[in-house]
């Protein structure tokens, strides 16, 4: 990049001089040097209307001499004296200027914050024990830090609509709304579905949906995340769990190849909600509702919790040792060319690496994964609905994943293929295999998190962990290597897929010294050229770009344009 060095401007913040690029917002300048300016309406990914007034700070500029007077003398560092303006300025929408002074801890600033808090709380209901936002509510936090502690308001609070259905996934409480307009700007600027707006005036202002419309777009739940108070709440998470009980795990979404960065909130191995996590190279601050809510199946009744072995027509539960020994027995008499291994593009790179070992160990004649495609939505959802297709190409070495599937089916029909090992895939429902075809097999092994028609036919069924129950790395559509982190323990005797494949290799006579997923990553770094020199720690929470694919994420491209226009901070 041959970017020109941006002009740096000196700004004094709370008595200390710092340099920032020209055009930086005052609030961002403060944030960069660790000075927090409280705010409600400002969001770096949205335009700044400056309507909450919480970020008011005291500002000063060098004095302008009257005609004929001497100009002010700079000190030895070249900074001019600052004359403070008696009127506060909002830090969110104003950019810095040379020799500007900002005071965020002065008496005037504190008075402004106190005043804003008092007015906001005049009509805000004090129902924190009921409200879902309690514990992560900006109003609560700033009330503690900058509020009065006691209300002087003795009159009746304004009554507004409560418990309003604004969309299929969202509930609105107008009494709690503080008119920051973040949700309105989000639906207008990012989701391109401007259905929200304010009606009525003064203290009777209410957030409303346009008559006859509803907030139903696939990004609607992001408004719940950015709502600084409990006005917008998610129907799915409503009253399920208080936020302070939950464990937060940073991981990635596995519903499509974008690999949105997410935080999984769980308590006692039950997932309660998922929220997007900021990554400006992948998903910005957002994620689609369809992906966010696709976690309830993890605790479904259909979860496989122990290995099953087929006795006659019936499955019976077995120990891992027995299931593995049965598998080894059945595979022992077969030629490599009679075995097909079907892996999954939902597996991590580490799992694919050990699957590759397994394939080589069996000398299996056929390997493939199952492709999943849908329509790209032009925002964050990519057409490839597998999270790690690029990993399949890079680590498993398949050039065109999915191209062998019909040949494998044919092979089974003709009796050339006698055993299929299906790892984390549902062949009948997702890969188009017919039950009749699979019945022709001598041996079918299925590992999958859920019971399914393919598992019904299997001779050995192994319970594999779901995405939230395993760790590893994945490559997203732009070639970014990202970490998938285990958020909860799998139910029953579930094992992570890499453990299953490792045990399969050991059961069929191969040895390996792999004890953790980190061991696998080290081998990945040693064996696959793209991963050379990498360590688990270097990938970090935000991932690192690894392979150049030329793919872009449409929502990010639009955001870049708006940053370039100066509309948002980004």
């Amino acid at each position: 990049m041959s970017e020109e060095k941006p002009d740096l401007i000196d700004v004094q913040i709370n008595g200390e001089w710092h340099s920032f690029p020209k055009g930086t917002r005052m609030i961002e300048a403060c944030r960069q040097v660790g000075v927090e300016v409280p705010h409600y309406c400002y969001h770096p990914k949205l335009t700044s209307p400056g309507n909450c007034r919480m970020c008011l700070v005291e500002m000063g500029m060098p004095p302008r001499p009257r005609p004929g007077d001497d100009p002010p003398e700079p000190d030895e560092d070249g900074h001019l004296p600052i004359s403070w303006i008696p009127r506060p300025a909002i830090a969110c929408a104003n950019t810095i200027a040379p020799n500007m002074g900002i005071r965020t801890e002065s008496e005037m600033t504190e008075e402004c914050r106190k005043g804003v808090m008092e007015l906001l709380l005049a009509n805000h209901p004090l129902d924190c024990p009921i409200c879902d936002q309690a514990g992560e509510c900006s109003l609560q936090e700033f009330s503690v830090e900058h509020g009065n502690g006691e209300s002087r308001f003795r009159e009746q609070k304004v009554k507004k609509p409560k418990n309003v259905d604004v969309g299929p996934r969202i509930r609105l409480d107008d009494e709690r709304c503080i008119m920051c307009s973040r949700c309105i700007r989000f639906t207008d600027e990012i989701a391109d579905d401007p259905v929200l707006g304010f009606t009525d005036r003064g203290s009777h202002t209410v957030l409303t949906v346009y008559p006859g419309k509803e907030l139903a777009n696939n990004y609607s739940l992001n408004t719940v995340d950015i709502c600084p108070v409990g006005a917008l709440t998610s129907n799915d998470f409503r009253f399920q769990m208080r936020v302070w009980f939950m464990k937060e795990v940073k991981t990635i979404d596995t519903n499509c190849a974008t690999g949105a960065n997410i935080t999984v909130y769980s308590r006692e191995d039950k997932i309660y909600r998922i929220t997007p996590r900021q990554n400006n190279d992948v998903n910005s601050d957002w994620m689609p509702d369809s992906h966010r809510l696709n976690f309830h199946w993890i605790e479904s009744e259909a979860r496989l919790t122990e290995p099953l072995v087929k006795d006659g027509d019936q499955h019976r539960s077995a120990s891992w040792q027995e299931a593995l020994a049965t598998t080894a027995d059945k595979l022992a008499g077969l030629e490599g060319s009679e075995i097909a291994v079907i892996a999954s593009a939902r597996m991590t790179n580490e799992e694919l690496l050990i699957t590759n070992r397994f394939v080589k160990h069996l000398e299996a004649g056929h390997v493939d994964t199952v492709p999943r495609t849908g329509e790209a939505d032009g925002y964050l959802i990519s057409a490839d609905r597998n999270p790690n297709t690029l990993g399949v190409k890079t680590v498993l070495g398949l050039d065109d994943p999915g191209s062998q599937l019909s040949a494998i089916q044919e092979g089974i029909e003709q009796g050339r293929i006698k055993a299929v090992i299906s790892l984390q895939e549902n062949l009948i429902e997702d890969a188009g295999f017919s039950a009749d075809t699979l019945k022709k097999l001598d041996f079918l092994l299925v590992s999958y998190p859920l019971a399914n028609p393919t598992a019904d036919l299997a001779d050995v069924v192994l319970p594999g962990a779901a995405w939230a129950e395993k760790s590893g790395t994945m490559l997203n559509i732009t070639g970014r290597l990202q970490r998938l982190n285990k958020a909860v323990d799998g139910p029953g005797l579930t094992l992570e897929p890499w453990e299953i494949v490792r045990d399969l290799i050991q059961a069929t006579g191969g040895g390996n010294g792999i004890y953790s997923v980190n061991d696998l990553f080290q081998q990945l770094a040693a064996e696959v050229s793209e991963f050379e020199g990498l360590t688990w720690g270097r990938i970090g929470d935000l991932g690192i770009p690894l392979i150049e694919t030329g793919e872009t994420i449409p929502l990010l491209e639009r955001e870049k344009e708006r940053i370039a226009k100066g509309l948002i901070v980004g």
């Binding site: 924190c128 024990p129 009253f239 208080r242 302070w244 009980f245």
Partner: protein, 176 residues
């Protein structure tokens, strides 16, 4: 530096100890005869005699949920007591009050509220932390059961122990 303790110099009749022993025996026998003759009572004959009337005002017995004068649940399932409980005796499952309910304004109530009385240490933090004045430590102290399951007080049992409490609570206050 070691401190030298000054020992009192005992007189001859003090060194004998016998007068002191006699003095002690007089006190002991005094009590003995008072009790034998029925003039004084020291031991409470529990469980035939109960302690209940003698409990101090501040006695901390079993925690229980209370309803208000109109038989409404005070608890809104905010789970602060579950959070504060040092031995983790409290488990709450919240639920939404259906919108056709008379008290739907409150939106939230406990679906299940369990206190494991084997775990409870009667510290009273749940009562102290409750923002809705819904949980109180009552004077029930004889919590018994023949299995662990029996020792878990469910919502029904908690309301049975708790009874009714009068006084305005925030959530019903239209001004708040």
């Amino acid at each position: 530096m070691a401190i030298v303790v000054k020992r009192p110099k005992l007189k001859l009749w003090e060194q004998l100890y016998l007068p002191a022993i006699a003095k002690g025996m007089r006190v002991t026998l005094g009590h003995f005869f008072k009790i034998v003759s029925g003039k004084k009572k020291v031991t409470m004959q529990y469980p035939e005699e109960k302690w209940d009337e003698h409990l101090p005002e501040h006695y901390r017995g079993a925690p229980a949920l209370v309803t208000d004068e109109q038989d409404r649940e005070r608890c809104v399932a905010c789970q602060l007591c579950e959070f504060i409980c040092p031995p983790r005796a409290i488990t709450i499952k919240p639920e939404e009050i259906p919108s056709d309910d008379q008290w739907a304004k409150v939106e939230k109530r406990p679906k299940a509220f369990d206190i494991d009385m084997i775990r409870c240490i009667y510290c009273g933090l749940c009562e102290e932390v409750c923002p809705e004045q819904a949980i109180f430590l009552r004077k029930d102290y004889a919590i018994t059961g023949t299995s662990r399951e029996e020792m878990v007080h469910d919502k029904e049992k908690l309301y049975e122990i708790g009874g009714v409490r009068v006084g305005l609570v925030n959530k019903w206050n239209e001004l708040k």
